[in-house]
């Protein structure tokens, strides 16, 4: 039945591509989460009236975030080819896609982290300070836990954007469903391959959204 509907689909290749997409999304999401969190916290703490209020540091970090956020991803991939080559030793394969994915997504996520942290009641940070908390305690026991629902819904949105970015990474031969849909589906005029790749991508996106929603609801005690 399935064979008749999608006569041209090579299922081994399809599952291999799905695995590559999931792999690239998962690894880049985890690293983006950490990097974005660090940058977002830095942006927050250096902003006016905060613990590390520092105009220069805030300006530099903010500018870098904005610059990288404004570069279209497809351009970023090409710009980063030399760096990728240096870091990974090749520009082909799933690992070669990671630098661009992370550098493209981390500033995007850092902004969301900043917005999430700004939502925290100033009074709570002040209360922690009045108890004699160190800045590291404030970061790990106040800032992160108190903004966790927003941090998680933010990383969910970012992970879904990363699924899209992995598809674009196909142009440098990263593999994954995007590349399969483009090379096997579009270039060879086999629309059934494109359709199946699309369905799998949708399923991946829905699952990410569902996991994100479940965790967000679970941690939100407000």
């Amino acid at each position: 039945m399935v064979e008749q509907l999608f006569p041209n689909v090579n299922w081994d290749r399809m599952w291999q591509a799905a695995y590559e997409t999931i792999y690239m999304t998962a690894v880049s999401t985890v690293i983006t989460f950490i990097l974005g969190l660090v940058i977002g916290i830095l942006l927050f703490l250096t902003s006016p009236h905060q613990l590390w209020a520092n105009k220069i540091a805030n300006f530099i970090t903010g500018s870098l975030v904005n610059i990288f956020r404004s570069i279209p991803f497809i351009v970023l991939i090409i710009l980063l080819i030399p760096l990728t080559n240096l870091l990974v030793g090749t520009i082909r394969g799933t690992n070669a896609a990671l630098p661009a994915l992370i550098i493209g997504a981390a500033p995007f996520y850092a902004r969301m982290v900043l917005i999430a942290l700004r939502e925290i009641d100033k009074g709570v940070i002040e209360a922690a300070r009045s108890m004699g908390a160190k800045t590291s305690t404030i970061i790990f026991k106040v800032l992160i836990p108190e903004s966790l629902p927003a941090l998680i819904s933010g990383i969910t949105v970012t992970a879904i954007a990363l699924v899209g970015y992995t598809a674009m990474s196909g142009i440098i031969g990263a593999g994954g469903l995007g590349q399969l849909a483009y090379i096997d589906g579009f270039q060879r005029d086999r629309s059934d391959v494109t359709q199946v790749a699309t369905i799998i991508i949708l399923v991946i996106v829905f699952i990410i959204q569902w996991i994100g929603d479940v965790i967000t609801t679970k941690v939100d005690k407000r």
């Binding site: 009641d121 009074g123 709570v124 002040e126 209360a127 922690a128 300070r129 009045s130 108890m131 004699g132 908390a133 160190k134 305690t137 026991k141 106040v142 836990p145 108190e146 966790l148 941690v219 005690k221 407000r222």
Partner: protein, 341 residues
Amino acid sequence: MIQLSNITKIYKTKNGDLTAVRDVNLSIEQGEIFGIIGYSGAGKSTLIRLLNGLEKPTSGEVIVSGEDIARISGGKLRQARQKISMIFQHFNLLWSRTVEENIAFPLEIAGVSKGERAARVQELIELVGLQGREKAYPSQLSGGQKQRVGIARALANNPEVLLCDEATSALDPETTEAILELLLDINKKLGLTIVLITHEMNVIRKICHRVAVMEAGQVVEQGQVLNVFQNPQATITKNFVSQVSDSSETKESIEQIIANYPTGKIVRVTFVGQSTKEPIMSQLIKRFDVEINILHGAISHTANGPYGTLIVHIDGAQGNIEEALHLLATNNIQTEVIARG
């Protein structure tokens, strides 16, 4: 315990310098409940935040239990803050933590071991009367319960000073009453020094021993609560005192009475402690041949003792009225002529 000398705090703002606190000198004794009252913007929060180093004074000295708060920083300041706790108008609890986790937070900061933390938290929960709510999140608590968590959290590290920034201002009157009782109780049980800021004279009356009145960054009056109530000096203090003694009803009826009694004087008489028991009014009537009509009477309790106010209409010959008022004065009874016919 707390010594503020020549404190001035100037904020640099876009519209120039703003002097939030101007040349304040205060001395607060160990174990006392010291109230600071003033309208919004008077500089109360700024002043109280100087006591735990959340703000640094532009000039002047802040000494709290021997520490020069304005000059220490880093670990030393953090250490000092564990002995100078604070509670807040909006409670400032961590919503992501349960009641017991919130109370445990300052203990985590102080590096108390897990087992000791649990025992201490249980003690504190009993002290503030939150048994059974240990696992609740702040969003599941009423305002009064949230403030109880705030108080328990503030007491966790056995502080020497408790700072209260409008701690009851977000609560209804009954809950305010209960929280004030709790603070009074803690002050007696633990001998804790409490500095409390508020814009409600009732709060001052109920639990404070001494009060400072702030206006535009300055302390315009300070003294024993009872004395201040009995004999307010500054206009702003008089306004605060009448917040408590005169309801709006009395104000209306006084106006009515003034209209009704074209002659004589309407006088507010304030009795304190012993003098509340003497039959002074009947003496006046007998000795000076004046008529005294009691228009309003009330007794209030302060932490220093009770005091009563009477609003009376005195009528008779001018000289007799003067003599009657003089007798009151020689008996240490405060009088204030509200209106004369």
